[in-house]
């Protein structure tokens, strides 16, 4: 009987805790930026890269004297676990933290619902990793994307197959996520249009480690190229290891999610010679080198696939705030549209939709390194 009291007490405590969260004191003027990425769950590795990229950007900005008018820049990172519900909760939490911009998320299925929540409060969202066309196609005014789009990546990959690798037959495998399947479908359609025979388009499930059944099919089909569209670099490595062990001789090609040092670290010899499409990052450019040295010094590991994009997204926002002199979303948007800066990943320029263009480059793994091989914009080999 006394327990009903406990229920009331628990409700009251919760009310207090939750209201307490909302009423933080405003000491000085602080630029508050949120990050959202999967910090737990199967995509924690990529999520970690995104958070670290943003942290480095803030550090670099502070070293350069910060943003005028703001005493400090604070980063609030939230975990989405690549789950739409948690992503929306994270977005609401960040709104409560009074952030004015969010860098994230990773999975398109998290980015899309959380962007709707953020849009209600006119908070700027810059995604460093969600490549689904739907992210910027919904007409949200404050949605920006620093990475490329799937519907640009697929044609680039197929163009490479047709023009450079001289592929006649193709086998496609994806792992059934919004991103990996969308891209694989895009490649399938573009390849058929380009006259490449798609022998089969098969799927594996997330969380699987055993791909032997599908790979036996690949071996029996004996394609010229084996296109691997997976959500995660480690699963990509597992795929190539098992494929090589089975004696598949096709050329392997992956996409930007498997483009990660992990692919080489785990895949070792099996990954040698594999191609990957990834937004061109000029690793010799001073901007990237600067980023790399900072990253290594602060994060104490190698940057991942999306670290540089996350860095650039955060940087772009801070630069826009600097130029606008305020965090007023309309003014920031105007400044973001005017922005043209040399980032770690590329020259960041946003178009009307909020996209920043894609400049997919095909990389090849050679001697345990990603080496630029072919540029989709110019059609030239490096």
């Amino acid at each position: 009987m006394k327990r009903l009291l406990a229920l009331i007490a628990a409700l009251a405590v919760m009310t207090l805790v939750l209201t307490g969260c909302g009423e933080e004191e405003k000491a000085g003027k602080v630029l508050r930026i949120g990050t959202m990425s999967p910090l737990t769950g199967p995509y924690a590795a990529d999520g970690n890269d995104i958070r670290q990229g943003a942290e480095i950007a803030v550090e670099v900005m502070k070293e350069q004297g910060g943003v005028e008018g703001y005493t400090d820049i604070q980063l609030f990172s939230q975990d989405t676990a690549c789950d739409p519900k948690q992503a929306v909760a994270a977005a609401n939490k960040l709104i409560n933290e009074k952030v004015t911009a969010v860098v994230g998320a990773y999975c398109s299925s998290s980015t899309i619902p959380s962007s709707e929540t953020l849009a209600e409060e006119n908070i700027v969202m810059l995604t460093p990793a969600s490549t689904s066309p739907q992210v910027t196609e919904r007409g949200l005014p404050y949605m920006f994307r620093t990475c490329g789009r799937d519907d640009h990546q697929a044609p680039a990959a197929v163009k490479f197959m047709k023009d450079v690798a001289d592929v006649k037959t193709l086998f496609i495998v994806d792992d059934k996520t919004t991103y990996s399947q969308g891209l694989a479908d895009g490649v399938s359609i573009a390849a058929k249009a380009a006259g490449i025979e798609v022998l089969e388009h098969d799927h594996v499930n997330q969380g699987d480690k055993d791909y032997s059944a599908v790979l036996t099919k690949v071996k029996a089909a004996n394609p010229d190229m084996f296109y691997i569209s997976l959500q995660n670099s480690a699963t990509g490595a597992l795929m190539v290891i098992q494929a090589r062990r089975m004696g598949i001789n096709a050329t392997f090609m992956g996409q930007d999610a498997v483009y990660h040092p992990n692919l080489i670290e785990i895949g070792k010899n099996a990954a040698e010679g594999m191609f990957c499409t990834f937004g061109a990052i000029d690793k010799d450019a001073p901007a990237f080198k600067n980023f790399l040295s900072k990253y290594k010094a602060i994060a104490n590991n190698e940057p991942g696939a999306y670290s540089a994009y996350s860095f650039d997204s955060t940087m772009a926002y801070m630069l826009a705030v600097k130029a606008a002199g305020s965090t007023d979303p309309a003014k920031v948007r105007a400044e973001l549209m005017k922005l043209d800066f040399v980032g770690a990943s590329k020259n960041v320029v946003y178009d009307e939709k909020g996209d920043s263009g894609s400049n997919y480059t095909v990389y090849q793994i050679k001697d345990g390194k990603f080496v630029p091989y072919w540029n989709s914009l110019t059609g030239d080999k490096y």
């Binding site: 939750l18 690549c82 929306v88 919004t178």
Partner: protein, 396 residues
């Protein structure tokens, strides 16, 4: 506590710590560059100090040295208990309801979001409570019905533009049908076989949602679902949605309460306690078990439809096994078969990870540990139902 007992306690504590060190060190200390001890001992140090402090506290408390805190506290709680006992039940429930109604007026967005989650889970928990708590059927795939409800509304809204209020009962019915489909072949099974089969069904539903491109749009999920409307006015603010789900939750609570104390509820409990005996007494166990599945699924269907309307997006990620396990955890942790118990369980398991958000990476670690700890401290749940588990109480 005698010195001998205390010695024994400290001894087992020491053995435990050494054991912990043996388990921890290989994970932290062995690297290809060589063996390393500093990091391990740092972590171990924190844990050891924490454990020793807890032990000391426990001993002091056992020795009665903390009575100066405990006694007044106890006196206050006894006093409040007396006030509670003389206050009529409806006033207390009224206070709870008033608090729930006033809640969004004094809180921010984030609080609304969390409390909407709490209310959704209350519907889910109470629904599962019918299956697990009342009828005693272990169900590890319960979240499938939630998914069916969510997709029902999503598809109805997308293809036919039907309103939320019309779809809410439809979602309940489709979920109930799904419940019967799942229930039918499983009724022959008992105990843990039921568990794995329901788990299998849950996974099948999730995989179908993820793979049937034509119907569900696969992993991309369904976007652009309409928010609920009232007289043509769209409820697009979070606090408005809060009242919608509050209404659904109150309806669920009332319905489950009525069911609990009805003939059907008693029949379910009879099945839970002794199925053979119930059958001999003329209870149609087959039909009633099916009904339990269907009723449980219906409430999950309602919750699912609301979830789709609230997120304006449904994707298969939201209906994984872990989610089923979570709802089950809420029911068992709160106390099976007891409505306030389930509500407390939901509050604990939704609020905890939110409170722990500050721990960031340690969040789920702490969560898992606390879950085990709570089960160890209160194996029958926070607020066990009076009619459940008498046998286990006797064994105390």
């Amino acid at each position: 506590m005698t010195t001998q007992e205390s010695k024994k306690l400290w001894l087992s504590c020491g053995v435990g710590l050494i054991w912990f060190l043996i388990i921890l060190w290989p994970l932290l200390g062995i690297t290809p560059e060589g063996l390393e001890f500093g990091k391990t001992f740092k972590v171990f140090g924190y844990v050891a100090v924490g454990v020793v402090i807890l032990m000391l506290f426990y001993q002091v408390q056992q020795a009665g040295k903390l009575n100066f805190v405990g006694t007044p506290l106890k006196a206050t709680s006894v006093g409040i208990g007396k006030i509670y006992e003389i206050t009529p039940r409806w006033i207390l429930l009224g206070i709870v309801l008033a608090l729930a109604i006033a809640f969004p007026l004094v809180t921010g967005r984030y609080a609304h979001d969390v409390s909407i989650s709490v209310l959704i889970y209350i519907c889910l928990g109470l629904g599962l409570n019918i299956v697990v708590g009342l009828a005693g059927l272990l169900d590890l795939g319960y979240i499938a019905f939630y998914g069916v409800g969510a997709y029902t509304y999503a598809l109805m809204s997308l293809h036919f533009g039907l309103s939320f209020w019309l779809c809410l009962p439809i979602a309940g019915v489709t979920a109930a049908i799904a419940g019967c489909i799942i229930g039918y072949p499983t009724l022959r099974m008992r105990g843990d076989y039921l568990a794995i089969v329901t788990l299998g069904f849950g996974e099948i539903v999730r995989l179908i949602l993820n793979n049937w491109m034509g119907l569900t749009n696969g992993p991309n999920g369904i976007m652009g679902i309409l928010r609920p409307e009232i007289f043509g006015f769209q409820l697009n603010k979070l606090w408005m949605l809060y009242y919608v789900i509050l209404g659904i939750a109150v309806f669920t609570i009332l319905a489950v309460y009525r069911l609990n104390f009805s003939r059907i509820g008693r029949a379910w409990e009879a099945i839970r306690e002794d199925e053979t005996a119930a059958e001999l007494m003329g209870v149609n166990t087959f039909l009633l078990k099916l009904l339990a599945y269907a009723m449980g699924a219906t409430f999950a269907g309602f919750a699912g439809a609301f979830f789709a309307a609230r997120m304006r997006f449904v994707g298969p990620e939201s209906f994984s096994f872990l989610e089923s396990a979570m709802v089950l955890a809420m029911v068992v942790l709160g106390g099976m078969g007891s409505i306030p118990g389930v509500i407390l369980g939901v509050l604990a398991l939704v609020a905890l990870p939110e409170v722990f958000r500050e721990f960031e990476l340690y969040r789920m670690l702490v969560f898992g540990g606390v879950m085990t700890l709570m089960m160890l401290i209160r194996p029958a749940g926070i607020w066990p139902a009076k009619r459940v588990g008498r046998r286990s109480e006797e064994a105390d």
